[in-house]
């Protein structure tokens, strides 16, 4: 038999001392005479503890379950320190092998890099031989040499003798064009600039600092792998 929610409302009002004297009197009379209602009152009385216990029961069951699954599946393998050490060594070996292959593939370690072009000269720094390549102003020397050829995977360092009393613009143009593909302000005392690989596309270029009338050409070829 279904319970009438109105009866529950009545019980709640009784529990909250919201019944009038008459209603209270009727309430007790009904409890004594109506067995179903008396049972409902008792049920209502035990419900908070029942719900609380049910909640605890559910939580404890989940805790026990997760503890046993966790212990069985993961922890107990490592109860023995020797097993734990063995697992650590195996993991270390695996990590070493992985790192070795990854670095080999990406050329992070130069000694195992298998690219012939890069092996030949990873960073090209063209220095003057026996004297300045070009003297634009007093004490300013430029490199690389005019007409140098690089590979797009090369790092190119442009180097010159530093000047302390002036700033210059470092410019790179595509040959015979006027809009620079790369430019940077050179500060007092700066003697070089690094052009990272891939900064400019393969092609024929000209560069200068200070005096735009005096340009130097160089070529970047695509890397062959």
């Amino acid at each position: 038999m279904e319970t009438d929610p109105k009866d529950i409302e009545l019980i709640e009002r009784f529990l909250d001392n919201k019944l009038s004297k008459e209603e209270s009197s009727d309430f007790f009379k009904r409890v004594n005479e109506d067995r179903e209602f008396a049972k409902l009152v008792k049920l209502r009385e035990v419900m908070p503890d029942l719900l609380k216990d049910a909640d605890n029961y559910r939580k404890i069951r989940e805790e026990v379950k997760s503890t046993l699954n966790f212990q069985g599946g993961k922890w107990l393998f490592f109860h023995n320190p020797a097993q734990m050490a063995l697992a650590a060594v195996i993991l270390l070996l695996i990590a070493t092998v992985v790192i070795f292959f990854v670095t080999k593939e990406h050329g992070i370690l130069p000694f195992i890099k298998n690219d012939n072009l890069v092996k030949k000269n990873d960073t090209l720094m063209i220095q003057k031989k026996g004297g300045p390549d070009f003297k634009a102003n007093k004490d300013i020397y430029y490199s690389p040499l005019n007409g140098s050829v690089f590979i797009s995977s090369d790092k190119i360092i442009f180097r010159w003798k530093p000047v302390h009393d002036s700033t210059f613009q470092f410019m790179i143009f595509l040959k015979e064009q006027t809009i620079p593909v790369y430019h940077k302000e050179i500060h007092h005392g700066q003697d070089s600039i690094l052009l990272p690989p891939g900064t400019i596309k393969p092609g024929e270029y000209q560069w200068y600092i200070g005096d735009k009338k005096i340009k130097h050409s160089f070529i970047i070829k695509p890397a062959v792998r």
């Binding site: 279904e2 319970t3 009438d4 929610p5 109105k6 529950i8 409302e9 709640e12 009002r13 529990l15 909250d16 049972k39 409902l40 008792k42 049920l43 209502r44 035990v46 419900m47 908070p48 503890d49 029942l50 719900l51 609380k52 216990d53 049910a54 909640d55 605890n56 029961y57 559910r58 404890i60 069951r61 805790e63 026990v64 379950k65 503890t67 046993l68 699954n69 966790f70 212990q71 069985g72 599946g73 107990l76 393998f77 109860h79 023995n80």
Partner: protein, 214 residues
Amino acid sequence: MINFVTKRIKPVHIEKFSEKELVKGLEHGDCKIISFLYNRNITAIRKMANQYPNMIFEAEDVLQEGMTRIIMNIRSGKFQGKSSIHSYLYGICRNICFKQFDGVTTVSMNNWVPELADVNDSDYFDLLQVVIDAKGKLDEKCVEIINLRFRLKDKQASTSANSKLMDFEHIAELIGIKADNARQRFSRCLEKLIYAVKNAPGIDDLLTSGSYGN
């Protein structure tokens, strides 16, 4: 999955923990103690469970459930420490098996260890499962108002019966409705729970005694 897991669990010597440590560990949900008890008892429970070909539970599930119940009983103070934890756990597991076997709901007490968990105890846990299922079917608003009224999420709530209840004026403020509407909503929701438990096994014992297993 449980079979796979238990094969890998290494036996631990029984001397490792005293009875007092076991009880305290279970009371606090100590993982080491739970694992230890599982390892210590799983063989015996397997043997017992294998005697019942129609068992619904696997031995691992029986033991897991038994451990849940023993923790509940320790925390509620029902476990008096008159028997060893292992005997008590075995008794609980045996009750679970009995109940599952061909619908038998009462247990012969012959040659029983004196401290076993009794049948009323087992019925009470079935009743709790009924409550869990019924509450799981309620909508969010019902769960919310029931939790509020009974202060089920309020750990600070006093243990005295009156202060356990949150009055509907307060509930109404919290959920933004009128107090009368809150009372009506609560009554409708509680009616669903009461309907689910009023004929469940164990409820009559509970109503007679006021608390389970006493």
